[in-house]
Symmetry: none
Subunit: 148 residues, 2 copies
DNA sequence: TGCAAAATCACCCAAAAGGGTGACGACAAC
DNA sequence: GTTGTCGTCACCCTTTTGGGTGATTTTGCA
């Protein structure tokens, strides 16, 4: 912005000089008319700039660029915390299935075991996680990086 | 920048020519000063607009936006899909609370509404999401980027 | 101002989930 | 061979969740 003002000032000065030069060069009548013209010119040039800036102002064209932030790689459960909490492989498996939104019956069907088995597994799982609900177990499991 | 100076020179020359022309043309007419001023004003207004546009033209501002493909970042719900599914703000809020592992009663307490209200909200939410269980709703909500 | 959407609440009923207890077989470790 | 863990299953009971219906109040927008 500073450079603009500078350039504009220079141009204005140059302009006045030119006008004065034309005044001396082509002086026939009143020499005030050129100065008058220069003033008007400068004024309206400023106005023009302001107008051009104001009327045609468009928001900075935002170009969105996708930057993949840590594209989740193949997940691996945090072995540390798993053994820390004493969670068995079966329980972890069931936690994953719970997180994917399956009911106990669906889990039982998928693992070819009875629904009661799933319930005991999940019961012990919740106990180890300190969860009271399956949704809470999922939340805890995610923050503890037991599941993706 | 060089071309600008060139163009400016040309315009200056043209201007002088025009001025001379108008000078000769309307010299005989005594009341030409207003027309002269207006002409200069209009000309410089146009020039000002052009200048303002040219000098202050910014390159298309490319703003890199981190689009977390799979992880992290201050989360913002996918407005598109939210309105697409007809999910209201309240329902989205409750989805978030469900995802954080709260029971309906706890959600009701936190939002200062009755448990029944939470149940109707979640019921309609599951309907819109096509979920049968809250865990499934959470799973769908996460993959649809409705919740973190 | 008046309508439509959203938010609120109630009641009933069925299904799912969760807690507790007990039991049994397989398998590895001591 | 005893012990401990793991996976499996059953039964009972309570709590939570979900479905359906209806109604009232708030609110945003035309």
């Amino acid at each position: 912005m500073k450079r603009q003002v500078l350039i504009y000032g220079l141009i204005g000065g140059l302009l006045i000089t030119v006008l004065k030069w034309t005044e001396y060069r082509f002086l026939v009548i009143e020499h005030s008319i050129e100065i008058y013209g220069a003033l008007v010119a400068a004024l309206f040039a400023g106005l023009g700039i302001w107008l051009g800036q104001t009327l045609t102002r468009k928001k900075p064209a935002v170009i969105l660029k996708e930057v993949p932030t840590a594209a989740a790689g193949p997940f691996a459960a945090d072995e540390m915390r798993v053994s820390e909490l004493g969670i068995t492989a079966r329980e972890l498996e069931i936690l994953g299935l719970i997180a994917s939104g399956l009911s106990n019956r669906e889990i039982a069907g998928r693992l070819f075991v009875s629904e009661n088995t799933v319930k005991t597994h999940s019961s012990r799982l919740f106990d180890k996680l300190g969860a009271k609900r399956r949704t809470q177990a999922v939340q805890i499991g995610k923050t503890a990086r037991l599941i993706p």
